[in-house]
């Protein structure tokens, strides 16, 4: 399979990228190609040839056959059911997106900690904007109602507030990480006498 992979921990410049592009032009039979550098990842399929419908085993078209509803035009999608197994159980969004890195990890939660969970599927942000001071750090004291992070879903930014007063004990997620509904975001060690 002409699926070459160069791994590098270094950054690639645009002129280097162009050099790769010119080398690739001399290998017109190449169908799949991917590169990975510190600053850039690209994966190309059948992009180096004029499009043909000849259907060689390495074209994108054929690779699509593993998709549940491949080849359906919009019109053909008319009243069809999803997936191969209609009775299949609920498929979580992140599972369906096939991104294991976004799956909730096994949560290790302290019994006396209050866990703030994500109210929705989306992307977690620790600060108002990239590079800004995070809303909270471990060890910070928070009051009930203080904004402790943001969840962005479909370009809508939602503030997440501390549901109890206390001290930030643990932050379970990374900045800009995709999170599920109900996923643990931040643990708060509650102030001793307070009840949630």
């Amino acid at each position: 399979m002409p699926d070459k992979k160069l791994d590098s921990n270094q950054e690639i410049s645009f002129s280097e990228l162009k050099e790769i592009a010119s080398i690739l032009k001399s290998a017109p039979d190449l169908r799949c190609f991917s590169i990975k550098f510190k600053n850039l990842e690209l994966a190309i399929e059948s992009g180096l040839k004029e499009a043909t419908d000849s259907g060689s085993p390495t074209t994108t078209r054929d690779q699509e056959s593993r998709l549940p509803s491949s080849g359906q035009s919009e019109a053909e999608a008319h009243l069809t059911r999803a997936a191969s197994n209609p009775s299949s159980t609920y498929k979580s969004l992140t599972e369906a997106l096939g991104s294991p890195s976004t799956m909730p990890k096994a949560e290790v939660l302290e019994p006396d900690h209050f866990v703030v969970r994500s109210p929705m599927v989306g992307t977690y942000y620790k600060a108002q904007q990239p590079g800004a001071k995070p809303f909270v750090l471990v060890g910070d004291k928070v009051k009930k109602g203080d904004v402790i992070c943001l969840i962005e879903v479909m370009k809508l930014i939602n503030s997440v507030a501390a549901e109890v007063a206390g001290t930030i004990a643990k932050i379970h997620v990374e900045d800009a990480q995709a999170v599920e509904h109900g996923q643990a975001l931040i643990s708060i060690k509650q102030n001793s006498v307070q009840q949630d």
Partner: protein, 448 residues
């Protein structure tokens, strides 16, 4: 055979693919990891994965997109709407690499894409504008001074903006500091540029916009659209022609739009947006790209706007010579934006797996969408999943046809605003054409 790289996703990527195929162009589709199984990726001649799900590492990443273009020998890049469509530095980069940007020149984007400079240009071209800050606000303090001067309520707007992102109405000075920081961070996130400007806020105006096509020599107006049916500054329903303009005002409006475009030798499709209050129109901003609601104009004019964009980019001056300066429209068209959101829960976005889809049909019904049964709507991008455009001889019939099509359209697995759209179309205000930009929000209870 020329190759066009599409630097966008979703329904607009499909729309551009269709125009490319119409003109016999080869299509390269770039995509993020979250869009690997999307329809535009399945239908393209070649595909390039350009990064992770977040827009900033994929669709907003100029190096990844230019790299993809180089590696696939693309001749031109179509940016669609949103993402990099109005980023002049991106166009500089594209052109420096010898590729064609399907859009305006970088100078025109800088001039018109930056809303504050656009206002100055509009004034020069004798197009009326709303009172406001002469240019970008340098600080909160400057905002306070100008706001106090022109009087509240005022509107804060992202200079790089569009589509209502990074926009806030401020009713009094005590709200200004918060609104200023919210709007600038929203603008930073949406457009990569946090600069804001402000203008006097006109209460309950109409939002009316003029579609233009310009080849760098000839300026053509293709009628207007009324986009007054909005919720939180997001357009909900668009239609053309406007039900409120008198013929005299319409002519003046179209004329002013052409004047502005001619003044800058504009090249590409574009939209001049106006607020209209009591028959007076004021220039708001120009969108130097194809817009979401362009099919409304296509339906009433018979002009394929996206194909024209490609034609202008590849063939330049002369390619609009078959069109009248003021293209006539026929009948009435209405576009409903179908969103993955839950109107009963504060319109909370509703991404996820689409279990089944039943599509509308019949004469003069158009549905632009990238969804299909089994598609998973990712949570990372816009919640708009389809556009329904219905045409008829009269506005009443266009409403009726839209209601029927919305009745036929069923999307299972996620929440959508289909019922809400039906309620809006059925509302008295919409029926009689008395919409203004605040009425949906104000009558929300009755519309849910």
């Amino acid at each position: 055979m020329k190759t066009v790289l599409i630097a966008n996703r979703g329904e607009i990527a499909l729309r551009i693919q269709r125009a490319c195929r119409l003109l016999g162009l080869r299509v390269v589709q770039v995509y993020s990891e979250a869009d690997k199984e999307s329809l535009p990726v399945k239908l393209a001649d070649a595909t390039v994965c350009i990064g992770k799900a977040s827009a900033s590492s994929s669709y907003l990443n100029p190096i990844a997109i230019l790299g993809a273009a180089k590696l696939t020998n693309a001749d031109a890049i179509h940016p669609g709407y949103g993402f990099l469509s109005e980023r002049a530095d991106f166009v500089d980069f594209v052109e420096a690499e010898g590729l064609t940007f399907i859009g305006p020149t970088p100078t025109q984007i800088r001039l018109m894409g930056e809303k504050s400079k656009a206002r100055e240009m509009a004034l020069k071209a004798d197009v009326p504008t709303v009172p406001g800050s002469p240019s970008i606000l340098s600080s909160l303090k400057e905002a306070e001074t100008i706001a106090a001067d022109i009087g509240y309520p005022i509107l804060l707007k992202a200079s790089a903006g569009g589509g209502g992102r990074g926009m806030r109405v401020v009713n009094e000075q005590s709200e200004l500091a918060n609104a200023f920081s919210e709007a600038s961070s929203e603008a930073k996130l949406a457009f990569g540029d946090s600069s804001l400007y402000l203008e006097k806020y006109l209460s309950d105006p109409q939002h009316i916009e003029v579609q233009v096509l310009c080849d760098g020599q000839r300026t053509v107006s293709v009628g207007e659209r009324d986009c007054s049916t909005q919720r939180r500054r997001q357009k909900v329903i668009e239609e053309g022609p406007s039900p409120v303009l008198s013929e005299k005002v319409r002519e003046a409006l179209l004329d002013s739009a052409r004047r502005l475009c001619s003044a800058i030798n504009y090249r590409n499709a574009g939209t001049i947006e106006y607020v209209v209050k009591d028959g007076q129109f004021y220039f708001m901003e120009m969108n130097t790209r194809i817009q979401v609601e362009h099919p409304v104009t296509e339906a009433i004019s018979g002009v394929d706007l996206v194909a024209r964009q490609l034609d202008i980019a590849f063939n330049g001056p002369g390619c609009l010579s078959d069109l009248a300066t003021d293209v006539l429209s026929r009948g009435h068209a209405i576009e409903c934006r179908i969103n993955a959101e839950d109107p009963s829960n504060h319109f909370m976005p509703s991404p996820g797996l689409i279990q089944s889809v039943q599509l509308p049909g019949g004469p003069w019904v158009r549905l632009d969408t990238h969804i299909f049964a089994g598609y998973v709507i990712p949570p990372f991008y816009d919640s708009m999943i389809a556009k329904l455009i219905c045409w008829a001889d009269t506005r009443d019939l266009a409403i009726q046809r839209s209601l029927t099509a919305l009745h036929e359209l069923k999307i299972q697995g996620i929440k959508t605003n289909i019922e809400f759209l039906r309620n809006v179309l059925n509302s008295n205000v919409f029926r009689i054409g008395a919409m203004h930009t605040q009425y949906v929000e104000r009558e929300l209870k009755e519309l849910l």
